[in-house]
């Protein structure tokens, strides 16, 4: 249902016979403009977005494909080499390493993040004192700049004088070299991502939860369902489309993870640690394209990332269809 706001197509026309000829002519002319307005204007209104998208989205996409088919270095375009860049990429162990890191960090970051967001939203959905304060509070990390977050966390996770290692030292643990091993660096980067995004997902869940009719809970309460049971059997099924939405958004964000690991690395080498412990696939692209100036290879990596996101989105879509979450 919705209100039709479009201009009416048929205006009540004045009877031509009672008007002079000039007025008829004017009226016909006006109606033609009206019709043009009705037909063309909507396209004009949306045109700016598509123009900008064509210039900054579509063109680079196509141009990147073109570059990826060449041996293209700093000095300019080299010979056309077909799919050789892609063939080399599939045999490059550092590429697969970066994929593994990306997926690893994605899983380590996203699963606890969404679970935590769900719990937080569930808590905020209850009656609280100062509800607005708490609801806006979870969003605060969102407004801190990602660079500031990464710099602060980078220092918290410093090897020699970092606060986390100091706290671990209090309970007698050895200093952890947070950039030295895969798991340590994945966990450190995941906490940065979660710090920023948990609140965002919490609010989205909260909004969805508030749309659930209260009488469902009342009926469940009368039937003797516990809070926990209400959460899993009413709340979660009712907000399933929202959960799927957050999973998709997190997947796309996770596959493009860049700023946090780069600032965590600090050296700007884009290698993600001495042994590429936390080099994500976008860092791998940046390293090849903009540090080594191997643009052809970098463009091929960019297209592989694009394909990866397509595949991930497709998998998501199929899961949604199976779950019937589109309702």
């Amino acid at each position: 249902m919705g209100v039709d706001l479009r201009p009416t197509r048929q205006r009540p026309r004045p009877a031509a016979t009672t008007r002079p000829a000039g007025a008829t002519e004017r009226a016909r002319w006006r109606s033609r403009i009206d019709r043009l307005d009705v037909k063309a204007s909507p396209y004009l209104y949306i045109a700016p977005f598509y123009l900008v998208f064509a210039v900054f989205g579509l063109f680079p996409l196509g141009y990147t494909l073109w570059v990826s088919l060449h041996d293209w270095e700093l000095i300019g375009k080299g010979p056309f080499i077909g799919l050789a860049n892609y063939a080399q990429l599939l045999g490059d162990p550092y590429f697969w390493n970066s994929i593994l890191n990306t997926i690893g960090i994605f899983v380590v970051a996203t699963v606890p993040q969404l679970v935590l967001a769900l719990m937080l939203a569930n808590a905020l959905n209850r009656w609280l004192r100062l509800p607005t304060f708490f609801r806006m509070g979870v969003l605060l990390p969102m407004v801190t700049s990602v660079a500031a977050v990464a710099i602060v966390f980078g220092q918290l996770y410093a090897r020699d004088f970092g606060m986390i290692n100091w706290l671990l030292g209090l309970v007698g643990a050895e200093n952890v070299d947070w950039r030295g091993s895969k798991w340590a660096s994945w966990i450190a980067i995941s906490t940065m991502v979660d710090w920023r995004w948990t609140g965002y997902n919490t609010l989205i869940y909260l909004a969805a939860m508030q749309a659930i009719p209260r009488d469902l809970y009342e009926a469940a309460a009368i039937d003797g369902a516990s809070r926990r049971r209400q959460l899993w059997q009413i709340t979660v099924p009712m907000i399933r489309p929202t959960i799927i939405f957050t999973v998709i958004i997190s997947t796309i964000g996770g596959l493009q993870l860049f700023t946090e690991p780069v600032l965590f690395e600090r050296s700007g080498h884009m290698a993600g640690g001495t042994l590429r412990q936390f080099q994500t696939v976008t860092m791998f692209m940046f390293e090849n394209a903009f540090r080594d100036h191997d643009y052809g290879y970098g463009a091929a990596i960019a297209w592989m990332i694009f394909c990866l996101i397509l595949i991930a989105s497709l998998v998501n879509f199929l899961i949604i269809r199976r779950l019937g979450g589109t309702k």
């Binding site: 700007g268 001495t274 540090r291």
Partner: protein, 437 residues
């Protein structure tokens, strides 16, 4: 031809964009002033440097004697950040300073694009040849005889050390005696073990990579005169004994637990100078100015300089060049000539211990007798002069810098105990091959 066409198209796009922005600005009623190099009849010259060049006083002098010139210095601390930016400026034809500093690892890359730079011989630099050590002069020259870089400093090597930490460890503190502790790198490692055994709350050296690079330059200077690539630009990392010697010695040092395992120019390394994280740093002359800044006033007089183990050698050193994209090439060339003349080099040496590449400056008593107040009045002119004497220039291939970064990463992994020496070496060689391939 192709490049030209592409640049033409890019410029056209740029013009369109600028026109659009200007139109928008005009609509909103604001008349923006056109930017560019001239403001109030003055010419602004931008100079891009990395690390420290010690030019601050010279800029003031030059502006005083050239009232029409305004100097705008831009500085990036780390060379690794500087090079990619400079390469992009040059590739896109805009953004570079009017004068740019080129380090020895950079200039060899850029000699391959002589058109990107002004031939300084066209600006009367030819008569200055006698102002530079001959190899330094030659290294600024393209194969077809264009001069693109005027030499600034050479990275004569010394060892800086913390007197107070040495004293705590029961080691001598007098710079003569400290120098005698380590005529060879094996002596240095032995001294380090004594230092560690004394349980001072600091590591003996800052990093394995600094030691590694120092040894590599020394060994290469003694024998082949090249490092990862031979003079025909073939990758010889796995056959050049200089590389392996440097690797093995620095790994031995790291595995003896002497290193603070810091990444040079990373924040913990920089703050390590204040936090007493390490007692020695193998430092080329140009690093002394940076150490002084990092360690700050409160550590003045605690640092000292002595000779480096293994004899003389040179690491680093730079040139000044004028990119062809400069709008004021003549004025920029004049500035470069001024900064690199013997008097300029002496001033830079006094300010930041960048050791001169001009024989007149090296012979000048102002350099030879110069004592660095910050480093306990160490006679740095004498110490670095000694190191520079035995020097033979080392050839660096265009791809030296990326290969060097890969090898250093592998060395750091070994240093941190994440890889064995053999596995690290294999990784370094493999990465170097893919980088050079």
């Amino acid at each position: 031809m192709r490049t030209y066409l592409r640049r033409g198209r890019k410029r056209a796009v740029g013009v369109l964009l600028v026109a659009g922005v200007l139109a928008a600005a005009a609509c909103s009623g604001g008349g923006g002033s056109g930017g560019g190099g001239e403001a109030g009849g003055k010419i602004t010259l931008t100079i891009d440097t990395f690390g420290t060049f010690g030019y601050e006083e010279l800029y003031k002098q030059y502006e005083a004697s050239h009232p029409n010139i305004d100097i705008r210095p831009r500085n990036i601390v780390r060379l690794e950040d500087y090079l990619p930016r400079l390469e992009q400026y040059l590739a896109t034809g805009s953004g570079a300073g009017d004068v740019v500093a080129l380090e020895e690892g950079i200039i060899n890359r850029l000699l391959a694009q002589p058109d990107a730079f002004v031939n300084l011989l066209d600006h009367g630099a030819g008569e200055l040849e006698g102002n530079f050590l001959s190899w330094k002069w030659q290294a600024g020259m393209t194969p077809d005889g264009k001069l693109i870089g005027l030499g600034t400093d050479i990275g004569a090597m010394g060892m800086v050390y913390r007197k107070d930490l040495f004293e705590k460890a029961g080691l001598p503190t007098d710079r003569e005696k400290v120098g005698q502790l380590w005529t060879t790198w094996d002596d240095f490692i032995e001294t380090g073990k004594k230092f560690e055994a004394a349980n001072v709350d600091a590591k003996f050296v800052d990093s394995a990579t600094n030691v590694y690079n120092t040894i590599l330059w020394q060994e290469a200077g003694k024998a082949s005169n090249y490092t990862y690539f031979d003079t025909n630009n073939n990758l010889v990392i796995d056959t050049n004994p200089a590389v392996k010697t440097a690797w093995d010695t620095s790994v031995e040092m790291a595995q003896a637990g002497l290193s603070a395992e810091l990444r040079t120019f990373d924040d913990p390394w920089i703050s390590g100078f204040r936090r007493d994280s390490f007692a020695t740093v193998a430092a080329p002359a140009w690093m002394l100015g940076q150490i002084q800044e990092f360690a700050g006033e409160e550590k003045a007089g605690l640092w000292d300089v002595t000779t480096v183990p293994g004899g003389g050698g040179v690491w680093g050193g730079s040139w000044l060049a004028v990119p062809a994209q400069s709008e004021h090439p003549a004025e920029a060339a004049e500035l470069a000539k001024f900064l690199t003349n013997p008097q300029g080099q002496i001033a830079a040496f006094k300010a930041r211990t960048n050791y001169p590449s001009s024989p007149q400056a090296i012979e000048d008593p102002a350099v030879q007798n110069f004592k660095n107040e910050y480093f306990s009045n160490a006679p740095v002119g004498e110490i670095f002069g000694e190191s520079a004497k035995g020097l033979r220039p080392v050839y660096l291939a265009p791809d030296n810098q990326p290969v060097r970064e890969r090898v250093e990463e592998a060395l750091r992994a070994v240093e941190a105990g994440d890889l064995s020496s053999d596995a690290g070496w294999q990784r370094a060689v493999r990465d170097a091959q893919s980088e050079a391939g």
